[in-house]
């Protein structure tokens, strides 16, 4: 099913024309309205008239999160305040947050993006959609909410937290769709398993729309098995819009990006040059329709690759492979590049472990230490120490072969690794605190 068949299945030549038209407009619009863009383009020696088609995009300068911080709060806004109808802010853990402003047209484009995703997963107005993303400054809650409203579904705005109430309402109202972060979904699934008053048949969920943090294929299997659902990726970021910049279709074979609104490129994060089609690198977005706070060649730091072949679902929109990390999340441990997502997928391969993990990196006597705490499933804790040590050895062996570096594994007590109700915190790098 398509929400907007004409656009989602548009032939790529027509799509390119549409993208070109929109790029020409957005470049002129930002140049004329925002000092930041005027300055950057002038410095790069590019004028709006140099941009004639989407192929000219590589002439434009990049921008990154720091620019949004430097021009906080309104320095990159292109629309006057009378036209801004909503603010959101990113979950910045350090310094000022990133504030995004939206015009009504921006909100309409955003909710269309989410509506396209939900429709691709199979949602209709018959569904009860439980939105367990946080509501508020975070784009997850209201973003999913507006998209779900747009397809006419019944929205249950539980927001995040208060897990027992979430489960009660999920049962009593018979929610058929769950929108939240994958780590919170896993936490909900575990809570349902451990709830003596809830049996799997009480849960009517058909599928989940999970996003706002990177997750793995193994985590998908885990969520699908535990909740008896299909688990789909929904992708987005506050700087570009919010969730619904793209989403998977029923084929679960890559995340379609709605490139009529959000134009993706992949660059080498070191040389900043575009990579060859299909190669991995950093994802960069240009918003083609945004009015409130457009971004042009915004570096997301997400590492992935793009697939331009037509999908079996009939959509022509490019597909993004799973995000395999962030260029700034990457840990360099004893000189080796390590992504938390690699660790997670290895742990989930071994069924005796729960998916929960916590990585601690430190530097002792000038040597990096690399410790990973893991939990066993309850039935694998027991009297036989040897069995547990063998499980640990198996995990170490797999991690060494995948990462090329040996972590120290600690099996810890059940439920002792902190569960998050929003974005999961999986890493503590103490080297940053003691440089």
């Amino acid at each position: 099913m398509y929400y907007n068949e004409e656009i989602e299945t548009m032939d790529r030549e027509s799509l390119r024309r549409l993208q070109s038209e929109r790029l020409v407009h957005i470049v002129r619009y930002t140049y004329e309205n925002v000092e930041f863009y005027r300055k950057r383009m002038d410095e790069a020696g590019v004028k709006p008239e140099d941009i004639r088609s989407i192929d000219d995009i590589s002439k434009l300068p990049f921008m990154q999160k720091q620019d949004l911080r430097d021009y906080y709060p309104f320095g990159t806004f292109a629309a006057p305040m009378k036209d801004i109808v909503r603010f959101h802010a990113s979950s910045g853990t350090t310094g000022k947050p990133i504030v995004a402003g939206y015009t009504q047209h921006d909100l309409d484009c955003w909710s269309e993006g989410v509506a396209r995703c939900l429709t691709a997963y199979g949602a209709t107005k018959e569904d009860i959609i439980q939105v367990s993303y946080g509501y508020g400054l975070f784009t997850g809650g209201l973003g999913a909410h507006d998209g779900a409203s747009r397809i006419g579904a019944s929205v249950l705005p539980t927001s995040s937290g208060n897990t027992s109430k979430q489960i009660m309402l999920m049962k009593d109202l018979g929610s058929t769709v769950l929108c939240c972060t994958p780590s919170y979904a896993l936490f909900l699934a575990e809570s349902i398993e451990n709830d003596p008053d809830t049996s799997p048949s009480d849960i009517k969920l058909r599928f989940g729309a999970f996003g706002a943090e990177p997750w793995t294929e193994n985590m998908r299997k885990e969520l699908e098995n535990k909740l008896g659902i299909k688990a789909y990726d929904i992708y987005g970021l506050t700087e570009v819009s919010g969730p619904g910049v793209g989403g998977e279709c029923e084929c679960q074979d890559g995340t379609h990006l709605w490139e009529d609104m959000f134009f993706p490129e992949i660059i080498d994060p070191v040389t900043l040059q575009p990579v060859k089609p299909g190669e991995q690198g950093e994802l960069v977005f240009t918003t083609l329709t945004k009015e409130g706070m457009p971004v042009i060649r915004y570096r997301t730091r997400d590492l992935t690759h793009l697939i331009y072949d037509k999908c079996r679902c009939g959509r022509t929109m490019v597909r993004m492979a799973r995000i395999m990390g962030r260029s700034d999340d990457m840990l360099i441990i004893r000189g080796v590049n390590v992504f938390p997502s690699q660790i997670e997928s290895v742990i989930l391969e071994i069924p005796e472990f729960t998916g929960q993990y916590f990585v601690t990196v430190d530097r002792v006597n000038n040597v990096d230490t690399f410790q990973v705490d893991v939990e066993l499933r309850p039935e694998y804790y027991g009297d036989a120490m040897g069995k547990m040590l063998r499980l640990k050895d198996r995990l170490v062996g797999r991690l060494v072969s995948v990462l090329g570096i040996r972590p120290e594994i600690r099996i810890v007590e059940p439920n002792s690794i902190a569960r998050s109700q929003g974005k999961a915190k999986h890493v503590l790098d103490k080297r940053i605190m003691n440089p």
């Binding site: 027991g382 009297d383 810890v412 059940p414």
Partner: protein, 127 residues
Amino acid sequence: MIIKQLSIFLNNEIGRFTEVTRILAEAGVNLQAFTLSEVSDFGILRLITDNNEKAIAILQENSYAVSTTDVVYIELPDRPGTLAKSIQKISDAGISVEYMYAFSQGNTASVVIRTDDVRQCNDVISK
């Protein structure tokens, strides 16, 4: 005879054992014997109590991983050579011992033995 032993998984951190003894004390569970073995990251606390059901319930309530294991319990006269004799029976029968712990009080020594085949061990040792 064969009795039930509780095994509790503990993070190897200061205060974990204290915490368990406090929880059991508050529940009125008496410890008859225990042993603690540890590797670098975790330990297993093995307990013989006067009320396993209560102990399991209260520990699980406090999110501890508790399991029950069959072990062989014997009482011997507290004299040189009595343990050697019993152990000899086990090794003669080709039974391998995973761990054991013992203590003596008055004229009696109590021994807890965990083997790969608890039933056979119990038969052999009772002869």
